[in-house]
Symmetry: C2
Subunit: 560 residues, 2 copies
Amino acid sequence: MAREVKSDIEIAQACKMMKISELIEELNIHENDWEPYGHYKGKLSLDLLEKHQNTPDGKVILVTAINPTPAGEGKSTITVGLGQALNKIGKKAVIALREPSLGPTMGIKGGAAGGGYSQVVPMEDINLHFTGDLHAITTAHNALAAMVDNHIHRGNELDLDVRRITWKRVLDINDRSLRHINIGLGGPLHGIPRESGFDITVASEIMAILCLASDLNDLKKRFARIVIGYSSNQKPVTVKDLEAEGALTLLMKDALKPNLVQTLENTPALIHGGPFANIAHGCNSVMATKLASKLGDYVVTEAGFGADLGAEKFLNIKMRAGNIQPSLVVIVATIRALKMHGGVPKDQLKNPDTEAMKKGLGNLEKHVESIRAFGLPHVVAINRFVHDSEEEIETLRHWCGEKGIEVELANVWEEGGAGGTALAEKVVHEIEHRKNQFKPLYELEDSLLSKVNTIAKTVYGADGAVLSKEAQKQLKDIQTNGWEHLPVCMAKTQNSLSDDPTRIGRPENFQITIRELKPSIGAGFIVALTGSIMTMPGLPKRPAAVDMDVDEEGKATGLF
Amino acid sequence: MAREVKSDIEIAQACKMMKISELIEELNIHENDWEPYGHYKGKLSLDLLEKHQNTPDGKVILVTAINPTPAGEGKSTITVGLGQALNKIGKKAVIALREPSLGPTMGIKGGAAGGGYSQVVPMEDINLHFTGDLHAITTAHNALAAMVDNHIHRGNELDLDVRRITWKRVLDINDRSLRHINIGLGGPLHGIPRESGFDITVASEIMAILCLASDLNDLKKRFARIVIGYSSNQKPVTVKDLEAEGALTLLMKDALKPNLVQTLENTPALIHGGPFANIAHGCNSVMATKLASKLGDYVVTEAGFGADLGAEKFLNIKMRAGNIQPSLVVIVATIRALKMHGGVPKDQLKNPDTEAMKKGLGNLEKHVESIRAFGLPHVVAINRFVHDSEEEIETLRHWCGEKGIEVELANVWEEGGAGGTALAEKVVHEIEHRKNQFKPLYELEDSLLSKVNTIAKTVYGADGAVLSKEAQKQLKDIQTNGWEHLPVCMAKTQNSLSDDPTRIGRPENFQITIRELKPSIGAGFIVALTGSIMTMPGLPKRPAAVDMDVDEEGKATGLF
């Protein structure tokens, strides 16, 4: 470890970026097909996909992980590092990531632009307002909410039942005080009193729609289908009924354009859409992934949290919406997280403890089994941390060997692409030589309960799923409204394979409790909320925001 | 009227814009001193003002108006048209406007990019998300709110009195249902229950601070001074106490950079900051106005609503914060609005009615008197509408002549700059030949009550101001906290010189009722809320949003 240890933001700010116009030129993108946002960010035209319709698709590599520690497993870091490494071994790779949310950035987890020498830049822009996509979602979502309440206040021609408005409001911040609120108070000039609440912006159905839409026209059609609540005779009321789909489309037309930036090693990166994988489907946009597969021979993309969350939803939901066939899955594991799953307290994960790590391997094993259930080639990537011992790493390698699992060490945090060339070689080799028998886990025609049970059993290792009384009632409504053919989007804690965040490792003999079934008809799925998962996080006692600042030269400090 | 009548958006979309990079070149701005936002918008560096410190200041022309009709008097249109006209007569003019808010754009009034052949472009971008400044304000404001409630939830070390939190939340949308809300409901995991509410983003103190800050350092200092509420022993608690000023500055560092666009005739326009003049100080940013005065020999800038609102606050507040000396005031009047002030119902303003117009002239007269009280040269600009009769126009001209008021007809909506050359010539002549004896109406050392009374009497024509019981109590607190030396920011209806929106023309024998005094210590003024003015508007029965859409080519439609 001869290299001086710098913070992520110091490394990012010291990097020599290419002008975005040069990157655009390298990618052979015409002047009319992009727009600059500052000198180092760009938005790509919606026409570009159509123009590339005869270009063959690159191979899609999906990066997922085991159940992470609160700091994350470094999936973005591995995604960026693997993209850089593929370029180092002579392949043309493009990265496709999700946009960070200000909630975690200002809360506890920090940004989401990778780490160390495997970051996307300019990291401070990406982690803050970026090109405004999340702000557009917040605006469109809340404009619709205002139109809903205004409609009721102005005579309620659609006969909306104020007790059955399902469209809430959103903000891109962790604000627990807004989870449950009463609105419309203060008298007859100030709207109709009712119960409501705010979710975090990334949980908005508009975010899901942005990420699943195939073009501007599809975007508008999906908006029109959004159900905002029910009439007094319990019929769904949609955005189309409110005549709001045009305004939503107008507010979102620039946000739909994928964003282009670069990594520290000038590998192109499309960063677009950023739903959380615990409360939403957790993948970047279909348009960005598809466009990346036109611009590169290899696309490295991530799905949020563990393979039980983002990857499951990538492989059951996103692949259907976008007709995207992954070629291989990289499962990121860290020695730290394996020790956590072996029972080591979070403040002691730096200490070598091979026995604890061995005890935690069940978690990794379950995720490998899930990916195998999808019929996909896979490689376990050990994301190396400074405190990992050689013994721990060798034990993990040995265990993988015994189980017939391909494994490779990646030191991309410390070394950038150079630290990932072995992983890149292995990934390319597996794609070329391993059989791909990809198949989603369920058919759309399966009943909703059967879909949920399949995921609970095959992916989580549960005995099955049980529905709360409320969810049973909601299931009936879903059947009445003819929505049972939709895929299911599970909302579950990221900390455990079960719906109980305290059950580490590989839990057994448990049920998944479906507390609520929430139709997202515009997105095209039914959200199944499990356990006590919340769609608006809270801030910790000392939020990361307290350490953020701007120095005398106007540079950002305190971002990580 | 031979020309085919096109809508504003059709005219704007047909215009041949210069690339922003070409405009930057024309203005001799170095590559490092700006950033593109798309091909037709840019942000200028914060260093540019310092680099220009030895450049002499251009003349500042302030455009204001009489009390407007709900559609507005066309102040932005005249501002843009006059800028274009000044260039037509060989002067180097730069325009400085405010950023539109999505509230009116999606509500009833429409956008704020001028009209007809006097618009700033790209009008759809400017009227929608533009460069994200308002979204940054929404984000920073609500991040602070989340930190306040989180502080209380996490133990309340600062001993905040939950009944005395003055920092609300904001959204850039008209949403009456959020005016009065109860937050923190749902049990102990979800914060502390308390009463609160949302204002519209343009009413945020963060917007006022953006508009009044002289540089990034001043911005941070102002943020630190914001009072978010009071402790249980009634001491003010500030952003500094919460250690949040660094994060707010970081979130706002790009928003602080003035935005550059162009008019239909390629006149440079800085559009930056956009508080409403009825509920805030209503002027674009000090930094943009100052920078415009370095880039042009003439700056044409507007202040919101009538001269009783934006102009009064420009001349008593903004000039002090930015040390900006206006050279002349243009008072915009329309025949339509004069007829409204003469008692004609709003749906009959198209019909010629010279007598009614004459009856409405008192309103214009009062505004002229106010500008004279400030000692400033002034010209009345008649913003010509298609339905104005020659008799009405001649009668207005004649009346001005009798009163010794300089007046000129402007047909910039229909003809662009060419329709404003006579006005431009007159403005230049008056600046060169008329004595400028500018002086604000009050001294900072005056008591708060005396300042309010001065404005009420001199600008509104009231007999004086009366304080509600609540305001009297607040005045005492303001005195106790040593804030009485601050200027006062009046919040008052734009529809009348009085605080009663139904009293048109030139009301007499009335008092102004100060309902509430709200300290904005970061902005550096005390807001005095009069009558029943509200800081969160509502939507009309059929919001403008319903007509918004995107056509098959991806172009915006339905904006006006």
